[in-house]
Symmetry: C2
Subunit: 423 residues, 2 copies
């Protein structure tokens, strides 16, 4: 946490006039969402003509144009099985979004309960979930929409704060789960250690306690470092809690954000449970789109090679964040920020009470930043200090302009606060 | 309902030996599901290379490869708007299955209630649905899976028996909806009259009573006759119940059964309600697959022309059903069957207590028929008399062999019953 250096109040007038100039430029820039840029999408444009004339069967000869195949194309599941550490029979390939699978797992839990539940979660007085913060706004939105109470716990650099998690579980028997983004966590870039994962699957909790293991960025590296994938299902089984974990992933940031494939992995019992309830909802996913993906990506090595092309396009954008923040903010001791080795976000922490104001000032100058509070349950960051930066979607020029402008807005907000404190 | 003619017991030995011969042939034929055949799927094989290199934007210039577009591609919605009688702004184009939309509408109703609900349906003591019979097994399966009680009402040739519907509603305040397949109903082929539709939308019922209007076969004609589409949303608005109806449809039997597009149409308030809850579940459907469909089908006239090609392939199969039943069953007064002008099914009604036995005999001879009872809630046809015939999926040769064999099995079952009655 930075403390406002004494020089800031002296700079108030200077920062104000820089901000006025920024506003006068009438920018229109959007740094809000973790979306791939057009050049990243173009890496998968072979999908536009795949699977190709005459290509509509899988290796077993099944006609993929027709109904059926509720678990998804075996060849595609095999392609991601190793990276996700989920055996093919326990890995489903389904629709175009892992978000849908997360929602539906929780919705099925509310409507029917999960293996180990005494009753549907919706029949409980209260159901609560632990939400490591900062975290992902869409996780929190699903949780809130389904009427599940959210309890924030701190996210450390190696995963959720286990002492806080244990303390919450001891106090509150209504807790039935926890959200996790184990690799390049949204938004800090934290990578869970195997030690923390082992603690999570070993927690003393109810039989229907579930870890929502959203492995959204398993192969989304932007440095040469490769975190060793955590075999969380094996760890859970070893801990005597084989049904504790649902693994989620997708190709949304591998191929097309809007037309990819979502994956759900879990224990045999959980997969049987999900497949049972999903059988009323669907006669099978779009297997032709899955075939397109197999033909585009070909092999696990093909996936890795494809992700290197993404890295080449987005690593410079992450570098730009470090460069601009280092040059514009560090000299004033303003802010601290993460330097993620993958994923889609950087977390910037500013002085308490400054995040909302800085984002509002940026918005007035035409620079859209993810709303303050989005990283916390109920959009409530009690410190008003955490800002999520999403650098991938704009062009590098727009990104640089947006970051420079945002620093101008943030410096003004910090100087305002420092002046008010000094007064 | 046929009554067993006196000649049947005399034929028992003859039918038994015909059946023994059939069994000895070791057939393997499947007449169970309403699936398109491979030659029908091939009509849409342009989808295998569409949308084509460089084609990934909609008319407004939006990049369809990325996230977003929660309502679906406007151009595709426009293509089906007239046939479904739903204005484009009230018609969503979503994932690959209308079944998913039916499930999710009911699941959202259970979890959250619909506009007009006092509380989530799942918080009610009991929620019940009217199920016109014979009806569609997957409708009943969704209903049962979500814990909704099912009450059968008769389906007439022009829609649900309105007197029975009114009587049920007067007796039972827990009834919150009714399933309807208004055009070429699954499985009888009944086509609702506008008069019956007007009665349904005018029923005295709770504010959250909903009609699940599954217009699965709106454009699936197999004769020259074209039923005038019913503007059920307008009728509901005119009756003062604008939010009463959810309209469902899909291209599953227009293009690819497994890789088509599902549609949901309703009143502005219902669509806002659905879109709100769906926004937690999805960042948007696969819009590239929707673009493929626009490029393949082009216009409402293009859809109609495409459906004529289906008709050319499946009308002979429906004719085969009439021919075989007429030749094999009519001489013995066995069975009565519908002669649908579209859709995917024929309903055969046999003597009470004979359906299960006939289907079991057919199964023993290697001919799979949709299980008896599938046409009724809880798989319970109290008369054990209704059999659903699905003629589209087999080749015409397999279909003929399957029908002949099934008639052999049915004649034996009827003769067994007649003999037992005569004894």
């Amino acid at each position: 946490m930075s403390t406002a250096p004494v020089t800031l109040p002296d700079r108030l007038a200077e920062f104000q006039s820089a901000y006025d100039e920024l506003k006068a430029r009438g920018l229109r820039l959007d740094l809000t969402r973790g979306k791939p840029a057009a050049d990243q999408l173009a890496l998968s444009d072979a999908l536009l003509t795949l699977p190709g004339a005459g290509s509509y069967t899988d290796a077993a000869g099944t006609d993929l144009r027709n109904y059926g195949g509720a678990s998804g194309l075996p060849e595609l599941r095999a392609l991601f099985s190793d990276a996700l550490r989920v055996p093919v029979p326990q890995l489903l390939a389904l629709g175009n979004s892992s978000l849908t699978l997360m929602h539906d797992v929780l919705a099925f839990a509310m409507l029917h309960g999960v293996p180990g539940s005494e009753r549907p979660w919706g029949r409980e007085e209260t159901v609560s979930f632990l939400c490591p913060v900062p975290g992902y706004d869409r996780h929190f939105a699903i949780t809130e929409a389904l009427g599940v109470r959210m309890i924030p716990v701190p996210l450390n650099d190696d995963g959720p704060d286990i002492a806080a998690v244990k303390a919450a579980l001891e106090l509150d028997p209504t807790i039935k789960g926890i959200w996790c983004v184990p690799v390049y966590s949204n938004p800090t870039g934290a990578v869970y250690s195997e030690e923390v994962a082992r603690e999570l699957v070993s927690l003393t909790a109810g039989d229907d306690f579930r870890i929502m293991w959203d492995n959204a960025y398993a192969v989304h590296h932007i440095t040469d470092w490769r975190p060793e994938p955590i075999d969380v299902l094996r760890l859970a089984a070893e801990a005597g809690n084989p049904d504790r974990v649902f693994v989620f992933a997708s190709t949304s940031k591998v191929t097309y954000a809007g037309a990819g494939v979502g994956f759900l992995g879990s224990s045999p019992d959980n997969i049987a449970w999900f497949s049972h309830w999903a059988s009323f909802q669907s006669i099978g996913p779009d297997k032709l789109n899955q075939l397109r993906h197999v033909e585009l990506l070909q092999s696990p090595e093909g996936v890795a090679a494809h992700m290197e092309k993404h890295r080449a396009l987005i690593a410079p954008k992450f570098a730009a964040v470090q460069e601009v923040f280092g040059r514009r903010l560090a000299p004033f001791g303003v802010g601290s920020w993460t330097d993620p080795k993958g994923g889609y976000f950087v977390t910037l922490t500013v002085s308490p009470g400054v995040a909302k104001r800085a984002i509002a000032l940026a918005a007035e100058a035409g620079i859209a930043i993810t709303p303050a509070g989005s990283t916390h349950p109920y959009l409530d960051d009690p410190e008003d200090a955490v800002i999520r930066i999403a650098p991938t979607f704009p062009t590098i020029d727009d990104l640089n302009a947006g970051l420079e402008g945002f620093c101008t807005a943030l410096l003004l907000a910090e100087a305002e606060k420092a002046s008010a404190s000094a007064a």
